[in-house]
């Protein structure tokens, strides 16, 4: 595929897009794993949400 005399502009456009999308994907993925870890730690220490506690009481 020949991108012609302006290949740099085309490649730069796609590179910027790939970089920004990769940052977005990394952000949601790392944020999720971090939050799961914190929630797990809190639950291990016995901290539970009120709604979950109410559910346990009903049982």
């Amino acid at each position: 595929m020949n991108l012609g005399p302006h290949a740099d502009f085309i490649v730069a456009s796609f590179a910027v897009t790939v970089f920004v999308v990769a940052v977005l994907v990394a952000w949601v993925t790392l944020d999720y794993s971090g939050l799961r870890r914190i929630l797990g730690d809190l639950e291990e220490r016995g901290v539970t949400r009120r709604s979950r506690r109410a559910g346990k009481d009903e049982r």
Binding site: M1, N2, L3, G4, P5, H6, A7, F9, I10, A12, S13, F14, V16, T17, V20, V21, V23, L24, V25, W27, V28, T29, D31, Y32, L35, R36, I38, L39, L42, R45, V47, T48, R49, R50, S51
Partner: protein, 243 residues
């Protein structure tokens, strides 16, 4: 499950857990097909191969405006119905919309240099798009810097609704003002002016970017719900320690 059931955050998390892997897989497949069609599409008779920038510039421009539309509906949900999931949706969409607007501005600039001979002009379309990007940053700042999350959310919702005025300005800027930017060539009276050999790859890439947006948005909403749970649990832990 009825759609109204998804208004419950726990049910919403279950729904996200089920659909997210399929949406992510479909996004990858659609991008692979779209890029394949993009590489095989012909050069423009005037712009040459630089027309390939259009396959990312145009979808991200559409999405930057669509995302503001999603945020505006969410802002109404926050201010009128005070539904927490509406606030979650608005907050989760903001960084994604800002990223798409950034891509649109950068690729537009890189496309402008070989086509117009300049990276930037202060014309109506480019300036209104830059204003949209600054509005995204403003909403982000309100969400991220407010000490009280509730007040920050309401302020962000108000700014979102005020900023919605900019969307029709962007859309019609190429018709009402004299600009370097070309007028609409797809959604216009008389139908599309684009040849099918270029139009189809563009539509496939637009579909892929749209699916990417919704996949990221759902994932970011899930994260925001979990973040609020962490905040609630930490507050409860602090209260219990004080008691």
């Amino acid at each position: 499950m009825a759609i109204i059931d998804l208004a419950n955050p726990t049910r919403f998390l279950g729904f996200v857990r089920r659909v997210l892997p399929f949406m992510a897989a479909l996004t990858i497949v659609l991008f692979a097909f779209g890029l394949y069609r993009t590489m095989g599409s012909p050069d423009d008779y005037q712009q040459g191969a630089t027309v390939k920038i259009m396959y990312i510039h145009v979808p991200t421009a559409w999405l930057s405006m669509m995302c503001w539309g999603v945020m505006s509906v969410a802002a109404l949900g926050t201010l009128v119905w005070r539904h927490p999931l509406a606030d979650v949706a608005g907050k989760a969409a903001t960084p994604i919309g800002a990223a798409f607007t950034f891509i649109c501005l950068v690729t537009g600039s890189l496309w402008g240099r070989p086509t117009w001979g300049t990276y930037w002009v202060w014309d109506a379309r480019l300036t209104s798009m830059l204003v949209l990007f600054l509005l995204y940053l403003g909403v982000l700042a309100l969400y991220w810097t407010a000490e009280d999350p509730g007040r920050g959310s309401r302020a962000a919702a108000i700014l979102t609704l005020v900023g919605a005025i900019n969307i029709p300005i962007i859309k019609f800027s190429v018709e009402y003002w004299n600009t370097l930017h070309q007028p609409a060539s797809l959604f216009r009276k008389g139908g599309s002016a684009i040849d099918p050999s270029i139009l189809w790859p563009l539509l496939i890439m637009a579909g892929a970017f749209t699916l990417l947006f919704f996949t990221l948005h759902l994932a970011a909403m899930r994260n925001e719900i979990l973040r609020r749970r962490v905040r609630t649990m930490r507050l409860m832990q602090a209260q219990e320690q004080r008691a």
